[in-house]
Symmetry: C2
Subunit: 417 residues, 2 copies
């Protein structure tokens, strides 16, 4: 192939913008629409790489910000790159570190040059710029690397903060700026200028595919402006950023549909950090090809089980004597291996490591089975059969979904995590 | 077979009391001398049952005390027993819970009837007797169950307590009793009386093999007295208790040799809670067939790596850039899978769950490889080749062992965990 990424579309829906395809990068291929589990610090928490592969995952994410701080990107480079380091020989995507530098670091300052912050590892003052982000990601060596972008908080998160943590709202608004629209405009233009610097600084363009990121918040004019600036650079793929930063599912759907339709049809589209099953389906129908989310692993570690009928909380007393697997019919290691809800609940209550391990395997497999079925629905234009197999995709009704269960305490209701 | 356990000896050393054999119980067979990893709460921490089996482990331990308190032995029984509960279909051994009830519970009282203590789970006052211990172990359903015994603290631990925690020594001595010998005598006789009650209360003698436990501390006359009382009951196996409770390796070796030689030759001998590689070899040479220890998993979770050259601490800065596996030549999942010391160190420093998982797999495999080689050495009477392959078995010299290593920081010494 010419360049580090090839994208082949093999099927398109006749009723929406969904498509099935295959992305090929130096370390292999993955089917799209794809769900990418998150291995922040070069490990999908608690799982061996083979176990991640066994969930059907074909590509995973690493976090440039975390690996830059610990163990250090130069060290990972010296040890042969992140594939060799973590022993995952399939495709890997790294994010740029910008979002984490801004949101996770203790003190930080954002200006046209980049982001200044203190390392949470050793308190060192660090400066992350488009050039440094490219250097970090070149050192890590992922197949797909992300532009260093300016992703401002959404108005929704401002509103929420004002309600929930009024003591923090003033400082937050000062950061966001009094005029949120002006802040969004500035982020769009800064993201474009930073992208040009990323392209110029990218040291391994033949081995690593750099994706640009569209910003602009919920505002259509700004999304158009961002797309026009970004698409002109003819990159191997494009991401929709500034989504799922606090707004509703409906707002996410509107922004994604509007933005996706403006992106070139022949390049993969990546919706960053999204999300629940319904949000993924909405993205797919708008022509999105790639998704990542920490939900299956993070919720799993806290006892939250994803099922086709909705989420259940395995710590709930109703599962104390429940011999059923987490989800009847599931083919994951936990369910097919015969581990019962009662045993999983015991492991959680006892604080045993095996609990988050089995839960993460189930939850990631849940999302991968969803992607398999979504790809099948696109190929067959069979959306109603998808909805029948996945009740969780239906719009929320008055009643919370209740998962199928074996013998349990009938007086207890399913808890929704 | 008649009864729940068959023991076949296939080879004996001509230079010591070591023997190779095979124990068959309702859920399968295991080769002896055997090392049994510990799965206290029905889980070997962080490992799937298949991963435990992949280390070469053929039998594992569960803890009756912990499972009685949580999730409860009746619940485990109702769910099909501990094999079905944890999805391990090979042999399982449960201890009686007496040692934990005495040593772990907040308040406790020991008398001829049993042990009274408060549950650390819910503060309930509980009473554990020989009869209740049998009921718990019958409910759990392990293949081998242990007598409820009285295991007094050793004099060594009294001495150590006096040196290290003088403020606790007075209370400890009050518990132990002024006259340690009298306490040992009482423990021997009580253990025998309790064993008779265990035999009488054992509800599944055709499905679960009850092992008696010999007490008597380091005192030969008391060990003789204990063996005479216990062996008369003609049980399917015998354990050497009251060892590795604070005394030196030399003291352990003396007690084990003396006790083992008095036990019937045609029954498996189990040395409880021992230990390091050298202690295991000493036990084997005295005719011991079964060992259990938390060292590989507990040390592994804290970064301690067992190697044939001695222990190393993976957190040590010298391993920062070390591309070598934990132990060159090892065939465990971590070493054969190509995970480097540098990566393992990163996982530990970053607090990633995968660190203790990989370390536990390596450390358990280390002990299983030792057992394979020990069985081979017995069959071939080839003790010097065993010592050559396992330098860690040699008596301690002035210098601590240093493990083979790839590139590292030459200014740093290997730390011994």
């Amino acid at each position: 192939m010419t360049g580090p990424l090839r994208f082949e579309i093999s099927a398109k829906s006749t009723v929406c913008d969904a498509r099935v395809g295959r992305v090929t990068v130096p370390h292999g291929s993955f089917d799209t629409p794809a769900f990418m589990p998150v291995g922040t610090r070069a490990s999908v928490k608690g799982l061996l790489p083979q176990q991640v592969a066994d969930t059907g995952s074909q590509i995973l994410l690493n976090n440039a910000f975390h690996l830059m701080l610990r163990p250090g990107d130069e060290l990972v480079r010296d040890l042969g790159g992140v594939h060799e380091f973590m022993r995952w020989d399939g495709p890997i995507l790294t994010d740029s570190g910008g979002f984490q530098a801004w949101s996770l670091a203790d003190t930080n300052k954002l200006d046209d040059d980049g982001i200044t912050f203190r390392s949470f590892v050793d308190g060192r003052k660090l400066h992350l710029t488009p050039e440094r982000s490219m250097e970090v990601q070149n050192n890590l060596g992922a197949d797909i690397i992300m532009a260093f972008d300016d992703c401002p908080p959404s108005v929704a998160s401002s509103d929420r903060l004002r309600q929930q943590r009024p003591e923090l709202a003033a400082a937050h608004e000062k950061q966001v700026g009094q005029d949120h629209h002006a802040r969004l405009v500035a982020a769009v233009d800064r993201t474009s200028r930073w992208l040009e610097r990323c392209v110029a600084a990218h040291g391994r363009p033949d081995e690593q595919a750099l994706f640009g990121i569209v910003q602009g918040g919920p505002n259509e004019a700004l999304r158009i402006r961002s797309v026009e600036q970004i698409v002109g650079l003819d990159l191997p793929g494009y991401a929709i950023g500034g989504v799922a930063v606090g707004e509703s599912s409906e707002a996410i759907a509107r922004t994604v549909k509007m933005t996706s339709s403006m992106l070139p049809e022949d390049k993969p589209r990546y919706l960053m950090g999204v999300g629940y099953e319904r949000d993924i389906l909405t993205g797919v129908r708008s022509g999105v090809d790639m998704f990542d989310c920490v939900l299956p692993t993070r919720n799993g570690r806290n006892g939250g089980v994803f099922t086709r009928l909705g989420r259940i909380q395995i710590r709930n007393a109703r599962f104390k004597k429940d011999l059923a697997p987490l989800e009847p019919g599931c083919d994951c290691v936990a369910c097919a291996g015969g581990f019962s809800r009662a045993y999983l609940r015991h492991l959680f209550i006892a604080g045993e490591m095996l609990a988050p391990i089995l839960m993460s395997m189930h939850n990631i497999r849940h999302f991968q089975r969803l992607m398999v079925d979504i790809r099948g629905a696109i190929e067959d234009d069979a959306w109603s059969s998808l909805a029948r197999a996945w009740p969780v995709l239906e719009p929320p009704a008055g009643e919370p979904p209740v998962a199928a269960s074996g013998p349990g305490d009938p007086g207890e209701r399913s808890s929704i995590s």
